[in-house]
C-alpha cells in the first residue's frame, strides 16, 4: 500500500481514501495485536498465590520453567518435556501437512479440470464441513473410527477386524488432523490450479515428458503458490490443534496446545501458559519467515484464496 498521496487532490476515480481502511485497522489491532500483546505481557509476570490470573510483578520464571525442571528430588535438570511436546506438535502438524498435500492436490486438480458449471458445486462441497462445528465433526470421526463403527464392523464382517484399533492411537490423531485441515489445502491449491493453464502440460507432453514428469516438473511448480498457501494454512493452525490429540488420540499424543490449555485451566499457571504460547508463536513466526523468504527468492506470488 502506497503512502504517497497528492495533497488535496480529488483522487482518481475508484481510488478510495486511505482513511476508509481505519475501521479495519482498528479491528485488526483489537483482535490480533492486543491479545498477542497481553499474552506476551502475561508471560513476564508472576503467578498469584491463588493461581488463576497474574500478579503484576516482573518475572522470567515462566520462561525458565520451559527449559529447567525442578525435579521432585530437589535437583534441577534441563527440561526436555516441553521441547518434546513442541516436537510432537511439529511432527503431527507436519504429517498432517503431508497427508493433506497428498490427498488435497489430486482433489484440487480434479475439481479444477471439471467443467466450469460443476466447479462451484464441488468447491461448495469441499467447504461443506465448515457448516458444522469442528467439535461435532471430531465426534463424528470418533464414531467412524471406533472399533464398533463402520470400519471396525466391516473388518469384522470380512474376518480381519478382531485386532482393529485405530481410535485412541496416533493414527487417529493424524486422520483427525487430515480430515479437519484438508479443505485448507484443497481450496488454495484449487485456486492456483484453476488459474493454471493446462496448455503448459500439453507443451510438456509435446516435448517428450511423460505423465509423472509433467506433473512433477510443470504442473506442481505451476500451482506452487497454492501449495505454499495450503502448507501454511494447514501447518500453522495444525501446530496449535488440541481437539484431535485429545478426542481421537486418546489424550496420549500430547501437543503443545493441550499443555497450554492445562496451564490456563487446572494447573492455573497463566504466566507459564503465556510463555508456552509465546514459545510456540516464535516457532510459528520462524516457519512463516522461512516460507516467505523462500517464496520471495523464487519470485512467486502466494495467494491464499
Amino acid at each position: 500500500m502506497s503512502k504517497v498521496r497528492a495533497p488535496k487532490s480529488p483522487g482518481r476515480p475508484g481510488q478510495a481514501s486511505s482513511w476508509l481502511a481505519t475501521p479495519t485497522l482498528v479491528f485488526l489491532i483489537l483482535v490480533i495485536l492486543l491479545p498477542l500483546l497481553i499474552t506476551v505481557v502475561y508471560s513476564f509476570l508472576s503467578q498469584p498465590s491463588l493461581g488463576t490470573g497474574v500478579k503484576w510483578v516482573f518475572s522470567t520464571d515462566a520462561y525458565r520453567q520451559i527449559f529447567v525442571q525442578e525435579k521432585l528430588d530437589g535437583t534441577t535438570a534441563f527440561d526436555t518435556r516441553y521441547l518434546k511436546v513442541l516436537w510432537n506438535s511439529f511432527y503431527y502438524a507436519g504429517i498432517a501437512t503431508i497427508t493433506t498435500l497428498l490427498l488435497g492436490i489430486p482433489v484440487a486438480m480434479w475439481i479444477a479440470t471439471r467443467p466450469v458449471r460443476f466447479r462451484a458445486m464441488l468447491v461448495l462441497a469441499v467447504t461443506l464441513p465448515f457448516w458444522t462445528s469442528v467439535l461435532i465433526r471430531t465426534y463424528a470421526v470418533r464414531q467412524i473410527l471406533d472399533e464398533t463403527g463402520p470400519i471396525g464392523g466391516f473388518l469384522k464382517i470380512i474376518g480381519v477386524g478382531n485386532s482393529y484399533q485405530i481410535l485412541y492411537t496416533p493414527w487417529a490423531t493424524i486422520i483427525g488432523l487430515t480430515y479437519t485441515f484438508i479443505p485448507f489445502m484443497i481450496l488454495p491449491v484449487y485456486a492456483s490450479a484453476e488459474r493454471f493453464d493446462f496448455r503448459y502440460a500439453e507443451a510438456g507432453y509435446d516435448l517428450g515428458a511423460k505423465r509423472w514428469t509433467v506433473l512433477r516438473r510443470i504442473v506442481i511448480p505451476g500451482i506452487r503458490p497454492g501449495i505454499i498457501a495450503g502448507i501454511a494454512l494447514v501447518f500453522i493452525p495444525g501446530l496449535g490443534s488440541f481437539l484431535q490429540p485429545d478426542m481421537l488420540g486418546g489424550g496420549k499424543t500430547n501437543m503443545i496446545a493441550n499443555v497450554i490449555a492445562n496451564n490456563f485451566g487446572q494447573a492455573r499457571n497463566w504466566p507459564f501458559g503465556s510463555a508456552l504460547s509465546v514459545f510456540l508463536l516464535i516457532f510459528t513466526v520462524l516457519f512463516v519467515l522461512m516460507v516467505t523468504t523462500g517464496v520471495r527468492s523464487r519470485g512467486d506470488q502466494v495467494r491464499l484464496i
Binding site: 503467578q47 498469584p48 498465590s49 491463588l50 493461581g51 488463576t52 490470573g53 525442571q69 525442578e70 521432585l72 528430588d73 530437589g74 518435556r81 516441553y82 518434546k84 511436546v85 470418533r142 471406533d146 472399533e147 464398533t148 481410535l167 485412541y168 485429545d246 478426542m247 486418546g250 489424550g251 496420549k252 499424543t253 500430547n254 493441550n258 499443555v259 492445562n262 496451564n263 490456563f264 485451566g265 487446572q266 494447573a267 492455573r268 499457571n269
Partner: protein
C-alpha cells in the same frame, strides 16, 4: 473438568454422610468418627432450625436474572417454571469448567446474577473478593440445607453459597474382564494400567489423577495438599508405568458401555449411567480413598439484580425444586426432604448409594495452594509427556 453429564445418582441418607466428611476434613479433623446414624436427616433437623429468622424476601419479582452455569446442568423447563411462578425471566449462559468461569469473572465480566462454582472454587472466589455476601443462611429456605453441608470449609455457616449437586470420583469396572475385575483400589487400577493390552481409561484431570496416585501411595486425605516432595516423587514413580488406553474426560460412558474400555476413573453418576446400559459395570470405591465435590449457587460482586438472585437461590433450595434438579442432572443435592420428589431409579441405585462401610473412604477433592498445585502440575506433566 467436565463432570456435569446427565447422570443418575442418588441422594440417600448415607450419601449425606459423605457431605459430612467434607466438613470434618476441612476442619482438619478425623473422618472416622462420623457414624452413619449421626447424619441421618432426622438428626440434622436441629441444625436446620438454627437458621436465623428468614429475612423478608418477596415471592415474586420482575425483570431478568442472568444465570451462568455448567453446560447441561440445569433443566430449562425448571427455569420456565421459575419464571411462571415469580415473573423473573432467566437468561442462561454456560461454561465447561470452574477455571473458565473464574477467568471470565476475573476478566471483569459483569451482568451475571448467579454462578455455580464447585467447592474449592467458592473458597478461592471468596478469597479474591469476587462474591457477594448475600447471607444465604438468612433466606427462608436455608432451613432446608442438609446439616452437614452448612459448615463447609469453603463457606462455613453458608453466607455466600447455597448447596446444589455433589458427587464422588471412583472407578467404573467391567466385571466380565478378568484383567480388571479384581480392581479394588487406585493402586490396583494403576497397576492394571501398566499391563500392555489392558484397556484402562482415565479422566484428563490433573487434580483427580494426581490425588488418586497420592492416595495409592498411602497419603492421608489431610496430606493431599502437602508440599512434601517425597510423596509427589512416589506418585510420579507410580504413574511412570501407568499407560492407559484413553486419557479423556469425555466419552467415557460410551467407551465403557461398548466395551472398548474396561476400567475407568469416573464420577459415580457417570458410572451409574454405564450400569444402566451395561449391568456388568460397577462403581468401585477405591480402598485407598476417593474425592468428593460439591457445587454451589453464589452471587458475584456487582450482580445487577441482587434481589432476583436471592429469590432464585431461595427457590432452588425448596425440596421440590432440588428434587427436580436432581432428576435432571442425575446427581444428589444438598436439600433436606427432596427425596420424595426424586425418581425411584435414582433413589435405589446401588452404584450411587454410598454403603455405610465406604463412607469413611470419602474426603473432599483437595483444594491446594499454589505450591502444592505446582507439584501436581509437575507430576501430571511428567506423566503426560511420558505417554
Amino acid at each position: 473438568m467436565i463432570r456435569r453429564s446427565k447422570v443418575s445418582r442418588l441422594a440417600t441418607s448415607s450419601a449425606i454422610i459423605a457431605a459430612g466428611v467434607l466438613v470434618l476434613a476441612a476442619c482438619g479433623g478425623e473422618t472416622t468418627t462420623t457414624a452413619p446414624s449421626a447424619a441421618a436427616p432426622s438428626a440434622a433437623a436441629p441444625a436446620a432450625s438454627e437458621a436465623p429468622a428468614a429475612s423478608a424476601l418477596p415471592a415474586t419479582g420482575s425483570g431478568e436474572l442472568h444465570l451462568y452455569s455448567w453446560t447441561d446442568y440445569i433443566d430449562p423447563a425448571q427455569l420456565d417454571a421459575f419464571t411462571a411462578e415469580t415473573g423473573i425471566q432467566v437468561i442462561l449462559d454456560t461454561y465447561d469448567s470452574n477455571e473458565t468461569m473464574l477467568a471470565k469473572i476475573q476478566a471483569g465480566a459483569t451482568g451475571y446474577d448467579v454462578l455455580v462454582p464447585s467447592d474449592y472454587m467458592v473458597a478461592q472466589m471468596i478469597e479474591l473478593g469476587l462474591l457477594e455476601n448475600i447471607g444465604v443462611n438468612t433466606l427462608p429456605n436455608a432451613a432446608n440445607i442438609k446439616p452437614n453441608l452448612i459448615d463447609v470449609y469453603w463457606d462455613p455457616g453458608r453466607s455466600y453459597s447455597a448447596p446444589y449437586m455433589y458427587g464422588t470420583t471412583g472407578i467404573g469396572v467391567d466385571t466380565t474382564d478378568p484383567a480388571v475385575s479384581g480392581i479394588a483400589s487406585w493402586k490396583d487400577y494403576f497397576a492394571a494400567g501398566s499391563v500392555a493390552g489392558n484397556s484402562l481409561d482415565v479422566l484428563k484431570d490433573q487434580t483427580e489423577l494426581v490425588s488418586a496416585a497420592l492416595r495409592a501411595g498411602g497419603v492421608a486425605p489431610a496430606d493431599l495438599c502437602s508440599t512434601d516432595k517425597a510423596q509427589y516423587a512416589a506418585a510420579q514413580e507410580l504413574l511412570s508405568t501407568f499407560k492407559p488406553k484413553v486419557i479423556d474426560s469425555d466419552g467415557g460412558i460410551e467407551r465403557m458401555v461398548k466395551g472398548s474400555s474396561k476400567a475407568r476413573m469416573a464420577w459415580n453418576g457417570s458410572v451409574h449411567r454405564m450400569t444402566v446400559e451395561n449391568p456388568n459395570i460397577q462403581f468401585v470405591y477405591p480402598s485407598d480413598g476417593l474425592n468428593l465435590w460439591a457445587d454451589n449457587f453464589v452471587v458475584p460482586v456487582g450482580a445487577p439484580d441482587l434481589e432476583n438472585a436471592k429469590i432464585f437461590i431461595n427457590w432452588m433450595m425448596g425440596p421440590e425444586q432440588a428434587g427436580v434438579a436432581s432428576n435432571f442432572s442425575g446427581y444428589d443435592n444438598g436439600i433436606i426432604d427432596s427425596d420424595p420428589f426424586m425418581n425411584d431409579s435414582l433413589k435405589t441405585d446401588p452404584g450411587v448409594v454410598v454403603p455405610a462401610d465406604k463412607v469413611a473412604l470419602i474426603s473432599p477433592t483437595p483444594s491446594c495452594g499454589q505450591e502444592a498445585r505446582d507439584l501436581y502440575t509437575e507430576v501430571f506433566t511428567s506423566w503426560q509427556s511420558g505417554q
